[in-house]
Amino acid sequence: MKKGEEIEFIKDGKRVDGRTFDELRNIKIEVGVLERADGSCYLELGDNKVIAAVYGPREMHPRHAQDAKMAVIKFRYNMAPFSVDDRKRPGPDRRSVEISKVSREAFEPVIMREYYPKAAIEVYVEILQSDAGTRTAGINAASVALADAGIPMKDLVSSIAVGKVGGEVVLDLNAVEDNYGEADMPIAMIARKNMITALQMDGRLTKDEFGRGLKLAMNACHQIYELQRTALIERYNKRESVKFEEREA
Protein backbone atom coordinates (compact mmCIF):
# COMPACT_ATOMS: atom_id res chain seq x y z
CA MET A 1 0.00 0.00 0.00
CA LYS A 2 1.34 3.40 -0.95
CA LYS A 3 1.48 6.37 1.32
CA GLY A 4 -1.48 8.61 0.99
CA GLU A 5 -3.86 5.77 0.35
CA GLU A 6 -6.29 5.82 3.19
CA ILE A 7 -7.78 2.75 4.72
CA GLU A 8 -10.98 3.17 6.64
CA PHE A 9 -10.25 0.85 9.52
CA ILE A 10 -13.53 1.32 11.30
CA LYS A 11 -16.84 1.60 9.48
CA ASP A 12 -20.24 1.37 11.15
CA GLY A 13 -18.64 -0.14 14.24
CA LYS A 14 -17.02 -2.91 12.18
CA ARG A 15 -13.41 -3.55 11.27
CA VAL A 16 -11.81 -4.26 7.89
CA ASP A 17 -12.59 -7.95 8.17
CA GLY A 18 -16.11 -7.37 9.49
CA ARG A 19 -15.33 -8.10 13.13
CA THR A 20 -16.65 -6.03 16.02
CA PHE A 21 -14.14 -4.30 18.33
CA ASP A 22 -14.14 -7.14 20.84
CA GLU A 23 -14.30 -10.06 18.44
CA LEU A 24 -11.61 -12.70 18.11
CA ARG A 25 -10.57 -14.16 14.79
CA ASN A 26 -11.48 -17.78 14.16
CA ILE A 27 -9.49 -20.16 16.28
CA LYS A 28 -8.88 -23.80 15.42
CA ILE A 29 -7.04 -26.12 17.78
CA GLU A 30 -5.83 -29.66 17.14
CA VAL A 31 -4.12 -31.63 19.89
CA GLY A 32 -1.50 -34.36 19.52
CA VAL A 33 -0.61 -33.73 15.89
CA LEU A 34 3.01 -34.90 16.05
CA GLU A 35 4.33 -38.39 16.68
CA ARG A 36 7.83 -37.81 17.98
CA ALA A 37 7.09 -35.00 20.42
CA ASP A 38 5.81 -35.78 23.92
CA GLY A 39 2.98 -33.32 23.38
CA SER A 40 1.91 -31.15 20.49
CA CYS A 41 -0.71 -28.77 19.19
CA TYR A 42 -1.58 -27.19 15.87
CA LEU A 43 -3.39 -23.89 16.15
CA GLU A 44 -4.87 -21.39 13.72
CA LEU A 45 -5.72 -17.87 14.81
CA GLY A 46 -7.23 -16.24 11.75
CA ASP A 47 -4.56 -16.64 9.10
CA ASN A 48 -1.84 -17.51 11.58
CA LYS A 49 -0.81 -21.13 11.52
CA VAL A 50 1.44 -22.35 14.30
CA ILE A 51 2.51 -25.66 15.69
CA ALA A 52 3.90 -26.33 19.15
CA ALA A 53 5.77 -29.35 20.47
CA VAL A 54 6.90 -30.23 23.97
CA TYR A 55 9.72 -32.55 24.99
CA GLY A 56 10.52 -33.53 28.52
CA PRO A 57 11.01 -33.51 31.34
CA ARG A 58 14.38 -34.88 30.23
CA GLU A 59 18.02 -34.37 31.17
CA MET A 60 19.15 -30.77 30.87
CA HIS A 61 22.14 -30.14 28.59
CA PRO A 62 24.61 -28.60 29.05
CA ARG A 63 24.93 -29.72 32.64
CA HIS A 64 26.29 -26.47 33.99
CA ALA A 65 22.95 -24.88 33.03
CA GLN A 66 20.97 -27.31 35.21
CA ASP A 67 19.07 -25.96 38.17
CA ALA A 68 19.45 -28.20 41.21
CA LYS A 69 16.10 -27.12 42.57
CA MET A 70 13.80 -27.20 39.60
CA ALA A 71 13.35 -27.89 35.92
CA VAL A 72 14.63 -25.35 33.44
CA ILE A 73 12.09 -24.33 30.81
CA LYS A 74 13.42 -23.80 27.31
CA PHE A 75 11.18 -21.97 24.90
CA ARG A 76 12.06 -21.47 21.25
CA TYR A 77 9.82 -19.37 19.03
CA ASN A 78 10.85 -19.80 15.41
CA MET A 79 9.48 -18.60 12.10
CA ALA A 80 9.59 -20.84 9.05
CA PRO A 81 11.45 -18.99 6.27
CA PHE A 82 8.30 -18.94 4.12
CA SER A 83 5.93 -17.81 6.86
CA VAL A 84 6.33 -14.13 6.00
CA ASP A 85 6.21 -11.99 2.84
CA ASP A 86 9.96 -11.48 2.55
CA ARG A 87 11.71 -14.75 3.19
CA LYS A 88 13.11 -14.88 6.70
CA ARG A 89 16.66 -16.09 7.12
CA PRO A 90 16.71 -19.27 9.21
CA GLY A 91 17.92 -19.04 12.78
CA PRO A 92 17.11 -16.80 15.72
CA ASP A 93 17.00 -13.03 15.28
CA ARG A 94 16.65 -10.44 18.04
CA ARG A 95 12.88 -10.36 17.78
CA SER A 96 12.50 -14.12 18.17
CA VAL A 97 14.96 -14.19 21.09
CA GLU A 98 12.85 -11.62 22.92
CA ILE A 99 9.58 -13.39 22.11
CA SER A 100 11.06 -16.69 23.29
CA LYS A 101 12.02 -15.09 26.61
CA VAL A 102 8.65 -13.44 27.17
CA SER A 103 6.82 -16.65 26.20
CA ARG A 104 8.94 -18.76 28.53
CA GLU A 105 8.22 -16.38 31.37
CA ALA A 106 4.51 -16.63 30.56
CA PHE A 107 4.68 -20.30 31.59
CA GLU A 108 7.06 -20.15 34.53
CA PRO A 109 4.26 -19.26 36.98
CA VAL A 110 2.19 -22.35 36.06
CA ILE A 111 4.58 -25.23 35.41
CA MET A 112 5.40 -27.29 38.50
CA ARG A 113 9.11 -26.90 37.89
CA GLU A 114 10.12 -28.07 41.36
CA TYR A 115 8.90 -31.60 40.53
CA TYR A 116 11.82 -32.13 38.18
CA PRO A 117 15.10 -30.78 39.54
CA LYS A 118 17.97 -30.75 37.01
CA ALA A 119 15.57 -31.50 34.16
CA ALA A 120 14.64 -29.53 31.07
CA ILE A 121 11.14 -28.99 29.77
CA GLU A 122 11.42 -27.89 26.18
CA VAL A 123 8.77 -26.02 24.24
CA TYR A 124 9.17 -25.44 20.52
CA VAL A 125 6.87 -23.20 18.54
CA GLU A 126 7.08 -23.00 14.76
CA ILE A 127 5.26 -20.26 12.89
CA LEU A 128 4.15 -21.70 9.56
CA GLN A 129 2.08 -18.76 8.38
CA SER A 130 1.97 -15.36 10.01
CA ASP A 131 -0.70 -12.69 10.04
CA ALA A 132 -0.07 -10.62 13.19
CA GLY A 133 -0.42 -12.15 16.61
CA THR A 134 1.97 -15.07 16.13
CA ARG A 135 3.37 -14.84 19.64
CA THR A 136 -0.08 -15.10 21.22
CA ALA A 137 -0.99 -17.97 18.90
CA GLY A 138 2.28 -19.64 19.88
CA ILE A 139 1.61 -19.28 23.60
CA ASN A 140 -1.90 -20.69 23.18
CA ALA A 141 -0.57 -23.68 21.23
CA ALA A 142 2.28 -24.23 23.67
CA SER A 143 -0.14 -24.26 26.57
CA VAL A 144 -2.16 -27.06 24.98
CA ALA A 145 0.99 -28.97 23.96
CA LEU A 146 2.27 -28.82 27.54
CA ALA A 147 -0.99 -30.30 28.76
CA ASP A 148 -0.87 -32.92 26.00
CA ALA A 149 2.65 -33.86 27.14
CA GLY A 150 1.35 -34.36 30.65
CA ILE A 151 3.57 -31.67 32.14
CA PRO A 152 2.10 -30.84 35.55
CA MET A 153 0.72 -27.31 35.48
CA LYS A 154 -1.31 -25.30 37.92
CA ASP A 155 -3.46 -24.11 35.05
CA LEU A 156 -3.56 -23.36 31.35
CA VAL A 157 -2.17 -20.09 29.99
CA SER A 158 -4.18 -18.16 27.39
CA SER A 159 -2.96 -15.28 25.32
CA ILE A 160 -4.23 -12.55 23.01
CA ALA A 161 -3.31 -9.06 21.88
CA VAL A 162 -5.29 -5.86 21.82
CA GLY A 163 -4.35 -2.93 19.68
CA LYS A 164 -5.36 0.51 18.58
CA VAL A 165 -6.35 1.17 15.01
CA GLY A 166 -8.36 3.99 13.47
CA GLY A 167 -8.41 5.57 16.90
CA GLU A 168 -10.18 2.64 18.53
CA VAL A 169 -8.99 0.04 20.98
CA VAL A 170 -9.82 -3.32 19.43
CA LEU A 171 -9.13 -6.97 20.05
CA ASP A 172 -6.73 -9.23 18.19
CA LEU A 173 -5.31 -7.14 15.30
CA ASN A 174 -4.89 -8.84 11.95
CA ALA A 175 -1.94 -8.03 9.69
CA VAL A 176 -3.52 -5.12 7.83
CA GLU A 177 -4.59 -3.53 11.10
CA ASP A 178 -1.25 -4.21 12.68
CA ASN A 179 0.72 -2.62 9.82
CA TYR A 180 -1.19 0.61 10.21
CA GLY A 181 -2.03 0.28 13.87
CA GLU A 182 -1.13 2.85 16.50
CA ALA A 183 -0.42 0.35 19.26
CA ASP A 184 -0.21 -3.36 19.93
CA MET A 185 -0.33 -5.02 23.33
CA PRO A 186 -0.05 -8.79 23.71
CA ILE A 187 -0.87 -10.34 27.06
CA ALA A 188 -0.87 -13.85 28.50
CA MET A 189 -2.98 -14.85 31.44
CA ILE A 190 -3.97 -17.68 33.75
CA ALA A 191 -7.58 -17.16 32.76
CA ARG A 192 -9.19 -18.96 35.67
CA LYS A 193 -7.28 -16.82 38.15
CA ASN A 194 -7.09 -13.56 36.23
CA MET A 195 -3.35 -13.55 36.81
CA ILE A 196 -1.29 -11.92 34.06
CA THR A 197 1.88 -13.80 33.11
CA ALA A 198 3.01 -11.75 30.11
CA LEU A 199 2.48 -8.15 29.08
CA GLN A 200 4.14 -6.07 26.41
CA MET A 201 3.13 -2.88 24.67
CA ASP A 202 4.33 -1.16 21.50
CA GLY A 203 3.10 2.11 20.02
CA ARG A 204 1.22 4.77 21.91
CA LEU A 205 -1.78 4.53 24.24
CA THR A 206 -3.29 6.83 26.79
CA LYS A 207 -3.60 5.49 30.30
CA ASP A 208 -7.33 5.16 29.78
CA GLU A 209 -6.94 3.26 26.51
CA PHE A 210 -4.46 0.99 28.22
CA GLY A 211 -6.94 0.18 30.97
CA ARG A 212 -9.72 -0.55 28.51
CA GLY A 213 -7.42 -2.62 26.32
CA LEU A 214 -6.27 -4.71 29.25
CA LYS A 215 -9.88 -5.50 30.15
CA LEU A 216 -10.72 -6.42 26.56
CA ALA A 217 -7.74 -8.79 26.37
CA MET A 218 -8.50 -10.37 29.72
CA ASN A 219 -12.05 -11.10 28.69
CA ALA A 220 -10.89 -12.68 25.44
CA CYS A 221 -8.44 -14.90 27.31
CA HIS A 222 -11.42 -16.49 29.05
CA GLN A 223 -12.92 -17.37 25.68
CA ILE A 224 -9.61 -18.80 24.50
CA TYR A 225 -9.29 -20.80 27.68
CA GLU A 226 -12.59 -22.49 26.91
CA LEU A 227 -11.44 -23.38 23.39
CA GLN A 228 -8.19 -24.82 24.73
CA ARG A 229 -10.06 -26.83 27.34
CA THR A 230 -12.55 -28.17 24.80
CA ALA A 231 -9.76 -29.27 22.46
CA LEU A 232 -8.03 -31.11 25.28
CA ILE A 233 -11.23 -32.83 26.40
CA GLU A 234 -11.95 -33.99 22.86
CA ARG A 235 -8.47 -35.36 22.61
CA TYR A 236 -8.79 -37.11 25.92
CA ASN A 237 -12.15 -38.62 24.95
CA LYS A 238 -10.76 -39.82 21.64
CA ARG A 239 -7.86 -41.49 23.41
CA GLU A 240 -10.15 -43.11 25.90
CA SER A 241 -12.42 -44.43 23.17
CA VAL A 242 -9.41 -45.80 21.31
CA LYS A 243 -8.36 -47.55 24.48
CA PHE A 244 -11.88 -48.86 24.89
CA GLU A 245 -11.96 -50.17 21.34
CA GLU A 246 -8.60 -51.79 21.91
CA ARG A 247 -9.91 -53.53 24.98
CA GLU A 248 -13.01 -54.66 23.08
CA ALA A 249 -11.03 -55.98 20.11
Partner: protein, 261 residues
Protein backbone atom coordinates in the same frame (compact mmCIF):
# COMPACT_ATOMS: atom_id res chain seq x y z
CA UNK B 1 23.74 -42.01 27.38
CA UNK B 2 22.35 -44.58 29.81
CA UNK B 3 19.88 -45.48 27.11
CA UNK B 4 22.45 -46.83 24.69
CA UNK B 5 21.54 -50.38 25.62
CA UNK B 6 17.90 -49.72 24.74
CA UNK B 7 19.11 -48.44 21.41
CA UNK B 8 20.92 -51.70 20.70
CA UNK B 9 17.91 -53.74 21.81
CA UNK B 10 15.68 -51.82 19.43
CA UNK B 11 18.08 -52.27 16.53
CA UNK B 12 18.31 -56.01 17.16
CA UNK B 13 14.56 -56.31 17.38
CA UNK B 14 14.09 -54.58 14.02
CA UNK B 15 16.74 -56.79 12.42
CA UNK B 16 15.22 -59.95 13.81
CA UNK B 17 11.78 -59.10 12.55
CA UNK B 18 13.12 -58.16 9.13
CA UNK B 19 15.01 -61.44 8.86
CA UNK B 20 11.72 -63.18 9.58
CA UNK B 21 10.18 -61.25 6.72
CA UNK B 22 8.13 -59.04 8.93
CA UNK B 23 7.97 -55.23 8.92
CA UNK B 24 6.31 -52.74 11.26
CA UNK B 25 2.69 -52.17 10.25
CA UNK B 26 2.65 -55.29 8.07
CA UNK B 27 4.37 -53.41 5.27
CA UNK B 28 5.90 -55.18 2.28
CA UNK B 29 9.65 -54.61 1.93
CA UNK B 30 9.10 -52.57 -1.18
CA UNK B 31 6.04 -50.72 -0.03
CA UNK B 32 5.81 -47.09 1.02
CA UNK B 33 3.95 -46.04 4.12
CA UNK B 34 0.81 -44.05 3.40
CA UNK B 35 1.59 -40.87 1.51
CA UNK B 36 -0.54 -37.74 1.69
CA UNK B 37 0.04 -34.34 0.16
CA UNK B 38 -1.57 -31.06 1.10
CA UNK B 39 -0.97 -28.19 -1.32
CA UNK B 40 -0.77 -24.40 -0.75
CA UNK B 41 -0.54 -24.72 3.00
CA UNK B 42 1.52 -21.55 3.50
CA UNK B 43 -0.11 -18.57 1.83
CA UNK B 44 2.94 -16.33 2.31
CA UNK B 45 4.97 -18.72 0.17
CA UNK B 46 4.88 -18.60 -3.63
CA UNK B 47 4.25 -22.32 -3.51
CA UNK B 48 4.07 -24.84 -0.71
CA UNK B 49 3.24 -28.41 0.13
CA UNK B 50 2.99 -30.52 3.23
CA UNK B 51 3.92 -34.13 2.67
CA UNK B 52 3.30 -36.95 5.10
CA UNK B 53 4.82 -40.37 4.61
CA UNK B 54 3.61 -42.39 7.55
CA UNK B 55 4.54 -40.32 10.62
CA UNK B 56 7.05 -38.27 8.72
CA UNK B 57 5.73 -34.76 8.20
CA UNK B 58 7.58 -32.23 6.07
CA UNK B 59 6.56 -28.78 4.93
CA UNK B 60 8.27 -27.26 1.89
CA UNK B 61 7.88 -23.62 0.93
CA UNK B 62 9.13 -21.89 -2.19
CA UNK B 63 9.83 -18.16 -1.98
CA UNK B 64 11.09 -15.86 -4.73
CA UNK B 65 13.05 -12.74 -3.85
CA UNK B 66 14.73 -10.26 -6.17
CA UNK B 67 18.51 -10.33 -6.24
CA UNK B 68 21.60 -10.16 -8.35
CA UNK B 69 22.85 -13.03 -10.50
CA UNK B 70 26.25 -14.59 -9.94
CA UNK B 71 28.89 -12.82 -12.01
CA UNK B 72 29.78 -16.02 -13.88
CA UNK B 73 26.17 -16.72 -14.89
CA UNK B 74 24.51 -13.35 -15.44
CA UNK B 75 21.52 -14.60 -17.41
CA UNK B 76 20.03 -17.13 -15.01
CA UNK B 77 18.23 -17.09 -11.70
CA UNK B 78 19.50 -18.70 -8.55
CA UNK B 79 18.14 -21.65 -6.56
CA UNK B 80 18.99 -21.95 -2.89
CA UNK B 81 17.75 -25.07 -1.15
CA UNK B 82 17.80 -25.13 2.59
CA UNK B 83 16.66 -27.59 5.24
CA UNK B 84 15.97 -26.95 8.88
CA UNK B 85 15.85 -29.86 11.28
CA UNK B 86 14.09 -27.91 14.01
CA UNK B 87 14.07 -29.52 17.47
CA UNK B 88 10.27 -29.64 17.33
CA UNK B 89 10.52 -32.55 14.91
CA UNK B 90 12.55 -35.08 16.84
CA UNK B 91 14.10 -35.63 20.26
CA UNK B 92 17.42 -36.00 18.45
CA UNK B 93 17.37 -32.64 16.68
CA UNK B 94 19.01 -29.68 18.36
CA UNK B 95 18.77 -25.94 17.90
CA UNK B 96 21.66 -24.36 16.12
CA UNK B 97 23.19 -23.80 12.71
CA UNK B 98 22.77 -26.46 10.00
CA UNK B 99 24.72 -29.63 10.71
CA UNK B 100 25.91 -32.29 8.30
CA UNK B 101 22.53 -34.02 8.28
CA UNK B 102 20.45 -30.97 7.41
CA UNK B 103 23.07 -29.86 4.88
CA UNK B 104 23.07 -33.28 3.21
CA UNK B 105 19.27 -33.34 3.13
CA UNK B 106 19.11 -29.94 1.44
CA UNK B 107 21.91 -30.69 -1.00
CA UNK B 108 20.48 -34.02 -2.13
CA UNK B 109 17.06 -32.49 -2.81
CA UNK B 110 18.76 -29.58 -4.56
CA UNK B 111 20.79 -31.98 -6.71
CA UNK B 112 17.68 -33.70 -8.01
CA UNK B 113 16.12 -30.42 -9.04
CA UNK B 114 19.28 -29.17 -10.70
CA UNK B 115 20.31 -32.42 -12.36
CA UNK B 116 16.90 -32.80 -13.97
CA UNK B 117 16.86 -29.12 -14.95
CA UNK B 118 13.36 -29.00 -13.54
CA UNK B 119 13.32 -25.24 -13.15
CA UNK B 120 14.08 -23.18 -16.22
CA UNK B 121 16.64 -20.86 -14.66
CA UNK B 122 16.75 -18.61 -17.70
CA UNK B 123 13.13 -17.70 -17.13
CA UNK B 124 14.10 -16.50 -13.66
CA UNK B 125 16.28 -13.79 -15.20
CA UNK B 126 14.68 -10.34 -15.22
CA UNK B 127 17.52 -8.08 -16.37
CA UNK B 128 20.65 -9.87 -17.47
CA UNK B 129 23.57 -9.25 -15.17
CA UNK B 130 21.46 -7.10 -12.88
CA UNK B 131 18.28 -8.56 -11.56
CA UNK B 132 17.12 -12.14 -11.26
CA UNK B 133 14.79 -14.14 -9.08
CA UNK B 134 16.43 -15.90 -6.16
CA UNK B 135 14.36 -18.98 -5.52
CA UNK B 136 14.50 -20.33 -1.99
CA UNK B 137 13.28 -23.87 -1.48
CA UNK B 138 12.92 -24.23 2.28
CA UNK B 139 12.44 -27.68 3.76
CA UNK B 140 10.90 -27.44 7.21
CA UNK B 141 10.66 -30.77 8.98
CA UNK B 142 7.78 -31.07 11.45
CA UNK B 143 7.93 -34.72 12.48
CA UNK B 144 10.78 -37.09 11.78
CA UNK B 145 9.37 -40.56 11.33
CA UNK B 146 12.25 -41.55 9.03
CA UNK B 147 13.04 -41.07 5.35
CA UNK B 148 13.04 -37.30 5.35
CA UNK B 149 14.67 -37.04 1.96
CA UNK B 150 11.86 -38.71 -0.01
CA UNK B 151 9.26 -36.58 1.73
CA UNK B 152 11.32 -33.44 1.17
CA UNK B 153 11.91 -34.16 -2.52
CA UNK B 154 8.22 -34.90 -3.07
CA UNK B 155 7.33 -31.73 -1.15
CA UNK B 156 9.76 -29.66 -3.17
CA UNK B 157 8.49 -30.73 -6.57
CA UNK B 158 4.87 -30.34 -5.45
CA UNK B 159 5.54 -26.87 -4.08
CA UNK B 160 7.30 -25.94 -7.31
CA UNK B 161 4.38 -27.17 -9.39
CA UNK B 162 2.06 -24.90 -7.45
CA UNK B 163 4.34 -21.88 -7.22
CA UNK B 164 3.62 -18.58 -8.93
CA UNK B 165 6.11 -15.83 -9.74
CA UNK B 166 5.26 -12.89 -7.41
CA UNK B 167 5.59 -10.22 -10.09
CA UNK B 168 2.90 -8.05 -8.63
CA UNK B 169 4.38 -7.87 -5.15
CA UNK B 170 7.53 -6.46 -6.68
CA UNK B 171 5.79 -4.13 -9.12
CA UNK B 172 6.70 -6.24 -12.14
CA UNK B 173 4.50 -7.40 -14.98
CA UNK B 174 4.61 -10.60 -16.94
CA UNK B 175 3.52 -14.18 -16.79
CA UNK B 176 3.29 -15.52 -13.24
CA UNK B 177 3.72 -19.12 -14.34
CA UNK B 178 6.82 -20.88 -13.13
CA UNK B 179 8.27 -23.21 -15.71
CA UNK B 180 8.59 -26.63 -14.05
CA UNK B 181 9.83 -29.11 -16.62
CA UNK B 182 10.42 -32.39 -14.83
CA UNK B 183 9.43 -34.30 -11.72
CA UNK B 184 12.53 -35.59 -9.94
CA UNK B 185 11.60 -37.91 -7.08
CA UNK B 186 13.78 -39.47 -4.43
CA UNK B 187 13.41 -43.08 -3.38
CA UNK B 188 15.48 -44.17 -0.39
CA UNK B 189 16.32 -47.74 0.45
CA UNK B 190 18.22 -49.54 3.18
CA UNK B 191 19.62 -53.02 3.31
CA UNK B 192 18.86 -54.99 6.47
CA UNK B 193 19.79 -58.62 6.88
CA UNK B 194 20.19 -58.98 3.14
CA UNK B 195 16.83 -57.45 2.29
CA UNK B 196 16.26 -54.22 0.43
CA UNK B 197 13.63 -52.09 2.17
CA UNK B 198 12.02 -49.09 0.57
CA UNK B 199 11.04 -46.03 2.63
CA UNK B 200 12.67 -46.88 5.97
CA UNK B 201 10.98 -45.56 9.11
CA UNK B 202 13.22 -44.19 11.83
CA UNK B 203 13.74 -47.49 13.61
CA UNK B 204 14.75 -49.09 10.32
CA UNK B 205 17.08 -46.18 9.58
CA UNK B 206 18.81 -46.75 12.91
CA UNK B 207 19.01 -50.51 12.41
CA UNK B 208 20.45 -50.20 8.90
CA UNK B 209 24.12 -49.37 8.43
CA UNK B 210 23.78 -47.82 5.04
CA UNK B 211 21.27 -46.21 2.81
CA UNK B 212 20.95 -45.26 -0.84
CA UNK B 213 18.82 -42.47 -2.21
CA UNK B 214 17.97 -42.73 -5.91
CA UNK B 215 16.54 -39.66 -7.60
CA UNK B 216 14.89 -40.26 -10.94
CA UNK B 217 12.95 -38.29 -13.50
CA UNK B 218 9.81 -38.65 -15.58
CA UNK B 219 11.76 -40.33 -18.41
CA UNK B 220 13.30 -42.88 -16.06
CA UNK B 221 16.75 -41.25 -16.07
CA UNK B 222 18.67 -40.55 -12.89
CA UNK B 223 19.34 -37.06 -11.60
CA UNK B 224 20.94 -37.82 -8.28
CA UNK B 225 22.37 -40.56 -6.09
CA UNK B 226 23.60 -40.45 -2.52
CA UNK B 227 24.87 -43.31 -0.44
CA UNK B 228 25.17 -42.62 3.24
CA UNK B 229 25.90 -44.59 6.38
CA UNK B 230 28.81 -46.53 7.73
CA UNK B 231 28.69 -49.74 5.74
CA UNK B 232 29.68 -50.71 2.23
CA UNK B 233 27.48 -52.02 -0.58
CA UNK B 234 28.03 -54.40 -3.48
CA UNK B 235 27.61 -53.38 -7.10
CA UNK B 236 24.66 -55.78 -7.38
CA UNK B 237 22.79 -54.23 -4.47
CA UNK B 238 23.31 -50.78 -5.89
CA UNK B 239 22.13 -51.79 -9.35
CA UNK B 240 19.05 -53.42 -7.86
CA UNK B 241 18.32 -50.38 -5.71
CA UNK B 242 18.57 -48.13 -8.75
CA UNK B 243 16.10 -50.36 -10.56
CA UNK B 244 13.66 -50.30 -7.65
CA UNK B 245 14.14 -46.57 -7.14
CA UNK B 246 13.15 -45.74 -10.69
CA UNK B 247 10.12 -48.01 -10.51
CA UNK B 248 8.87 -46.67 -7.19
CA UNK B 249 9.35 -43.08 -8.30
CA UNK B 250 7.20 -43.87 -11.31
CA UNK B 251 4.40 -45.13 -9.09
CA UNK B 252 4.47 -42.05 -6.85
CA UNK B 253 4.67 -39.73 -9.84
CA UNK B 254 1.65 -41.31 -11.42
CA UNK B 255 -0.38 -41.13 -8.27
CA UNK B 256 0.49 -37.70 -6.94
CA UNK B 257 2.05 -35.37 -9.49
CA UNK B 258 0.86 -33.32 -12.41
CA UNK B 259 2.54 -34.18 -15.68
CA UNK B 260 4.81 -31.28 -16.61
CA UNK B 261 3.52 -29.53 -19.67
Amino acid sequence: MGLEIMDDVRKDSVRNRISEGYREGDREFREYREISIERDVAMKAEGSARVKIGNTDVLVGVKLDLGEPFSDSPAVGVIITNAELVPLASPEFESGPPNENSIQLARVVDRGIRGSETVDLEKLCIVEGEKVWIMFIDIHVLDNGGNLVDAAALGAITALQNARVPNERYGLTGDDTLSVRDTPLAVTMVEIEGNILVDPDCNEENAATSRLTVISNADGSLSGLQKSGSDSMTEETILEMVEIGIEKAGEIREKFLKTPS
